[in-house]
């Protein structure tokens, strides 16, 4: 009974996902570029030690002021 219920829920979720994708596809066929999303948000920078910002080796501050995307740890997609 429990397995049947799980299977039923899985089928309903799968159908929902397909229906969502199909609806999205219909909308996109009308205006294909409308749903394009911008790239990912940058990750949060990590913790800073008590003396971090008085020294030169503060990784979050270095990332925040880095001049290149790679040094700043910007997203890849």
């Amino acid at each position: 009974m429990r397995n049947f219920r799980r299977s039923a829920i899985a089928v309903v979720l799968a159908l929902g996902a397909c229906a969502g994708a199909a609806t999205g596809a219909e909308l996109l066929l009308d205006e294909p570029t409308s749903s394009l999303a911008a790239s990912a948000l940058p990750s949060l920078l990590g913790p800073i030690t008590e003396s971090g910002r008085t020294g030169w080796n503060c990784a979050p501050e270095r990332a925040a002021t880095a001049r290149t995307p790679a040094a700043a740890g910007l997203p890849h997609d």
Binding site: L29, T33, L36, L44, P47, T49, R67
Partner: protein, 269 residues
């Protein structure tokens, strides 16, 4: 006379060697407070507690124990350490609050940190990120403008403001920021993709197409850019090319929603 001088020199030399040896052997003892004043002693104790709790809080944060980290940083904050530790502890506590799901508390702490130190770049970066996650584009844009103003060469500042400007429909600023990012690193495919979105929204499909081609040349497996190219080709009436793009996107996409959408569009064309 000469003998006395040699003897004196020998004694001085041995004394110097002995002093050097003792300096190397024994560490300096911890200085005892040179006061019995209650206020001064309380200050020394407070300083010591700030030091200990900062260390414990950062260690807890680094092992992902955000509840313990928040408790240590809250106590540190209550001890009111001076700058730059005052803004740093607010930044650290904000990070813990975000991980505990307390975004409102986090934004308040980061705003305070930036008020105390207006050039605290990591605080600005995290504040933009939290506002963006909460969908507060206007607040994110305000902070991103400040971030770019004091760190105009920062790639993260440009990226943050480009995203907030794009979300707010300020295409001129978004275009300038993504171009600045491309200027700092022409091989960063993501900036070409975002610039393509700006151009699409500005109705400049040819410029968008060029940026997407550039992004895909740099990163052929970039599924989101491949999908965008498919939509541009579809809008241009090039259904066969669009179908090829969606098919490739369906194979490259790690995101199941994007993959499902690409498959559906491919099959409808």
């Amino acid at each position: 006379m000469v003998r006395a001088a040699v003897a004196a020199a020998s004694v001085l030399a041995f004394a110097a060697i002995g002093a050097g040896a003792s300096a190397q052997t024994y560490s300096r003892p911890t200085a005892a407070p040179r006061t019995t004043d209650a206020g001064a002693l309380a200050g020394v104790a407070r300083e010591r507690e700030v030091h200990e709790r900062f260390g414990r809080g950062v260690a807890a944060a680094e092992r992902g124990d955000w509840t313990a980290a928040a408790a240590e940083f809250r106590r540190t904050l209550s001890l009111d350490p001076p700058e730059p530790r005052g803004s740093t502890v607010r930044y650290d506590l904000a990070l813990a609050e975000v991980h505990l799901g307390h975004d409102d508390a986090a934004t308040g702490l980061l705003e305070e940190a930036l008020h105390r130190d207006p050039r605290f770049a990591a605080a600005a970066a995290n504040l933009v990120a939290v506002y963006m996650r909460r969908g507060n584009t206007a607040a994110a844009r305000t902070v991103a403008d400040r971030f770019v103003a004091f760190a105009p060469d920062s790639a993260l500042a440009r990226y943050d403001r480009g995203l907030t400007a794009l979300r707010a429909g300020d295409l001129t600023t978004a275009r300038a920021d993504f171009r600045a990012l491309i200027g700092s690193d022409p091989t960063y495919a993501v900036a070409h993709y975002d610039l393509a979105l700006v151009e699409l929204r500005a109705g400049r499909d040819d410029a968008a197409r060029a940026e997407l081609d550039q992004a895909l040349t740099l990163s052929p497996g970039y599924a989101r850019a491949r999908f965008a190219l498919g939509t541009v080709l579809m809008r241009d009436g090039r259904r066969a090319d669009a179908r090829i793009a969606f098919d490739r996107c369906a194979r490259d996409a790690a995101d199941p929603a994007l993959r499902a959408l690409a498959i559906d569009l491919r099959d409808k064309l």
